[in-house]
C-alpha cells in the first residue's frame, strides 16, 4: 500500500477493535519512557512560566536578589505598572492597530482567496507562490523603504505618517495580507463545491455566492486569518520601535523601553517588568486558547498544505 493511498480512505476504516487493544497497538513507546519524556518537556516549558508568575507576585527587591519563591507575596506590581510603564495607553494603541489590521486583512483576504481558489486566470500560480514567498521577506528589508516612503509623505504631501498609528497599521498590512490570504486559500480549498454549484444553477451571481455561501461557511477560516493578523501586529517590535512616539508606543515597545530603563535604575524593578510582561501576553494567550481548535491547523497552514 502506498502512502498516498492511505490518506483518503482514513474515514472508512474505523474497524471494530476494542479500545484498550487499539491503544496498545498504536503505542509508540513503552509507558515509563513516555511519562519521563512528557514530564521533562513540561518542566522545560513550565519552569520559566512559573517564574514569571512568582516574580510578578514578588517584591522588586526579592526578584533582583534572585529569589524563585517569593518571601512575601503581593499584588503591588500589578497596580504600579499602569503608571510606571504607561501600560494602559500602550495596550490601547496595540489593540487599535492590531485590531484594525486584523479586520482589514481578513476582509481583503476572503475576496482575494475566493478568486484564487475558484477561478483560473493568467498568473494565478505566480500569485499563489508570491503569497507564500512574501511571508518570508525579512522585516528589516522592508523597514527602511517604508520609513523613507512615510517620511517622504511628510516632505512632499504634508501628511505626517511617522509617529502615528496609521503608519504602523499600513506597515502591518504588509505582512498580514499575504499570510491572511494564504490561510483563506487553504481554508476555501477544503470547502465542498456542491453548494456553490447548486446556487449557481439557481441563478446566483459570483458575488451572491461569495456573500451567501462562501462567507457564511468560512467563519472559522476568517477568524483564524484575523487572529493571525492581530498577533502579527501585537507581537511586532521592529516597526513599532521606529514608527512610534512615546504617545503612540505599542505594548511591545512600552515593555521594551521599560525594560531598558529598569536596568539603568538604582533599584531594578523586575517584578513590575514581569507583571507587565504577563499583562502584555494575556490577550494573546486568551485569544489563543479560546480558538485553539481552529488555530492549531492554521499555525501550520502556510507550510504543509
Amino acid at each position: 500500500m502506498t502512502l498516498d493511498a492511505a490518506n483518503p480512505i482514513e474515514q472508512q476504516k474505523k474497524q471494530p477493535i476494542r479500545r484498550d487493544a487499539a491503544l496498545e497497538v498504536t503505542r509508540l513507546m513503552p509507558r515509563p519512557l513516555l511519562a519521563i519524556l512528557t514530564v521533562l518537556l513540561c518542566a522545560l516549558v513550565l519552569t520559566p512560566i512559573a517564574y514569571i508568575f512568582l516574580a510578578s507576585l514578588n517584591t522588586d527587591v526579592g526578584v533582583a536578589s534572585g529569589e524563585f519563591w517569593p518571601s512575601s507575596f503581593s499584588l503591588d506590581s500589578y497596580s504600579k505598572i499602569w503608571d510606571s510603564v504607561g501600560l494602559a495607553k500602550a495596550i490601547g494603541n496595540s489593540l487599535i492597530v492590531s485590531g484594525a489590521t486584523a479586520v482589514v486583512s481578513a476582509i481583503m483576504a476572503i475576496g482575494t482567496a475566493y478568486v484564487l481558489v475558484r477561478f483560473s486566470f493568467w498568473g494565478r500560480l505566480t500569485v499563489l507562490r508570491g503569497l507564500l514567498g512574501l511571508q518570508s521577506i525579512p522585516g528589516t528589508l522592508m523597514l527602511l523603504p517604508v520609513f523613507v516612503l512615510f517620511s517622504s509623505a511628510g516632505t512632499y504631501l504634508g501628511v505626517t505618517v511617522i509617529g502615528t498609528l496609521w503608519g504602523l497599521f499600513i506597515a502591518y498590512l504588509t505582512f498580514a495580507l499575504p499570510f491572511s490570504t494564504w490561510v483563506m486559500v487553504t481554508y476555501l480549498r477544503g470547502l465542498p463545491r456542491e453548494l456553490e454549484e447548486a446556487a449557481r444553477i439557481d441563478g446566483a451571481s459570483n458575488i451572491g455566492i461569495l456573500f451567501r455561501i462562501i462567507i457564511p461557511l468560512s467563519w472559522p477560516g476568517i477568524i483564524v486569518s484575523a487572529i493571525f493578523a492581530f498577533l502579527l501586529g501585537w507581537n511586532d517590535v521592529l516597526f513599532a520601535s521606529v514608527f512610534t512616539r512615546p504617545d503612540t508606543h505599542t505594548a511591545a515597545v512600552a515593555l521594551q523601553v521599560f525594560a531598558s530603563a529598569v536596568e539603568g535604575g538604582a533599584i531594578p524593578v523586575y517584578s513590575q517588568l514581569m507583571a507587565a510582561a504577563l499583562v502584555c501576553a494575556a490577550p494573546v494567550v486568551v485569544l489563543y486558547f479560546m480558538f485553539q481548535k481552529y488555530l492549531v491547523g492554521g499555525l501550520t497552514a502556510g507550510s504543509v498544505k
Partner: protein, 328 residues
C-alpha cells in the same frame, strides 16, 4: 454552464475503490485546471488586495533595491530621489569593511543549530502526545505555551532570569557552579540559541503531529503483528511518515530563525554585543543608529538573497495547486 465544475473528480468520487485505486488515478491530472471556472470571473475582487500589496510590498521592495545603489545617509534622506547613484559601492563596503560577513555566519550558524536541536524535541513531543490518555489535552496546551507567548515577552523574561544576579546564576551558585555573564561576551551567543530553542520547538511539534496523524491504524497493526520492537517501529515505520513534514519544518524554522529580529533585540538591545550581532540587528543598527541608510539597504538585499535559497527550495516543494476539497 456548470459543466466545467461538475466533472467527476479523480480521487474523491470513488471512495469505495479504496487502497487499490491508489497508485494509478489520483496524482496525475491530465488537465491541470480541471474544476476551475474560466468564465464570468470576478477578477475585480483581486484589485483591492492586489493594489494594497503592490503599494505596501512591491514598491518598498523595489525602493529597497534602489536605495542599496545610492549614497543615502541622514543628510540626503529627505531628498532621497536626488541622492547620488554610486552603483555597487555599498555592497563593496558591506563586504569589505563592515560586520556583514561575520553577521551572516552568526545568523546562519545560529539558525541551523537552533533548528537541529528543536527537531528531536518537537518530534519527541509529538510522539508522546500521539496516544490518547487522560490529561493529554492539557499536556498539548502546555507544549504550545512557548509558541503562543509573544517573542518580546519571552525575551524579556529570559533577560530578567539571565541577569548577572538573576535567578539562573543564583541557582547555579547554589549547585556549586559559576554562571558568569549570559547577556554579554561569548556566552551571549549560546543564550540566544537557547532562548530561540525554548521558544521555537513547538513549531516542529505541530508539524510532526500532522505527520503522525497520517499514519494509518493498519500500519500500527501490521507492525504489531510482526512483533516489531518499539524503537524499530519508530525508526523504520513511523519516522518515514515524518520525513516530509519535518523537512518542511526544517526549512521554515531555519528561515524564521534567520529573520528573527525581536528575540535578539529584546534580549541584548541594540547595538548588540558582537557575538550576537546577527543580520537583522546589523541591518537595523546600520540604518537607525549609524544612519548609513544606503549601506544598510545593501545589507538587507544581501540577507534577502541569503534567505532566497531555502525559500526557493520550499516553494518548489510545496504543492500550490490542490483544488479538490474535502481533504486537508
Amino acid at each position: 454552464m456548470a459543466s466545467s465544475v461538475t466533472e467527476p473528480r479523480p480521487s474523491d468520487s470513488s471512495p469505495a475503490a479504496g487502497a487499490a485505486a491508489g497508485p494509478g488515478t489520483p496524482e496525475t491530472h491530465p488537465k491541470r485546471r480541471k474544476g476551475l471556472s474560466e468564465r464570468n470571473r470576478p477578477l475585480w475582487l483581486l484589485i483591492p488586495g492586489g493594489l494594497l500589496m503592490t503599494i505596501v510590498i512591491l514598491v518598498p521592495l523595489a525602493m529597497g533595491i534602489w536605495m542599496s545603489l545610492i549614497d543615502l545617509d541622514q543628510y540626503t534622506l529627505r531628498q532621497w530621489v536626488s541622492a547620488e547613484f554610486i552603483g555597487i559601492q555599498n555592497y563593496i563596503e558591506a563586504a569589505m569593511s563592515s560586520d556583514l560577513l561575520r553577521s551572516i555566519w552568526l545568523s546562519v550558524s545560529f539558525a541551523v543549530i537552533s533548528t537541529v536541536v528543536t527537531i528531536p524535541l518537537g518530534v519527541a513531543a509529538a510522539v508522546v502526545t500521539q496516544n490518547a490518555y487522560r490529561g493529554r489535552a492539557l499536556v498539548r496546551s502546555i507544549f504550545l505555551i512557548p509558541y503562543v507567548l509573544p517573542s518580546f515577552v519571552v525575551a524579556s523574561v529570559w533577560r530578567t532570569m539571565l541577569q548577572p544576579d538573576g535567578i539562573v546564576n543564583v541557582t547555579l551558585n547554589n549547585m556549586g557552579m559559576d554562571g558568569g555573564l549570559w547577556l554579554n561576551g561569548p556566552n551571549a551567543y549560546w543564550t540566544l540559541v537557547w532562548v530561540e530553542i525554548w521558544a521555537a520547538w513547538p513549531f516542529i511539534y505541530l508539524l510532526a503531529l500532522s505527520g503522525l496523524q497520517a499514519v494509518d491504524h493498519e500500519v500500527h497493526e501490521a507492525s504489531a503483528l510482526d512483533g516489531a520492537l518499539w524503537w524499530n517501529k519508530l525508526r523504520y515505520v513511523i519516522f518515514p511518515y515524518l520525513k516530509g513534514p519535518v523537512s518542511l519544518a526544517f526549512l521554515l524554522a531555519t528561515l524564521n530563525h534567520i529573520n528573527n529580529f525581536t528575540l535578539p533585540y529584546v534580549l541584548f538591545g541594540a547595538p548588540a554585543p558582537s557575538d550576537v550581532n546577527v543580520l537583522p540587528i546589523l541591518v537595523y543598527v546600520t540604518s537607525f543608529q549609524s544612519f548609513r541608510f544606503g549601506l544598510s539597504a545593501a545589507m538587507a538585499v544581501v540577507s534577502l538573497i541569503l534567505i532566497a535559497i531555502p525559500l526557493f527550495i520550499y516553494l518548489r516543494a510545496v504543492r500550490l495547486d490542490v483544488h479538490e476539497g474535502g481533504k486537508k
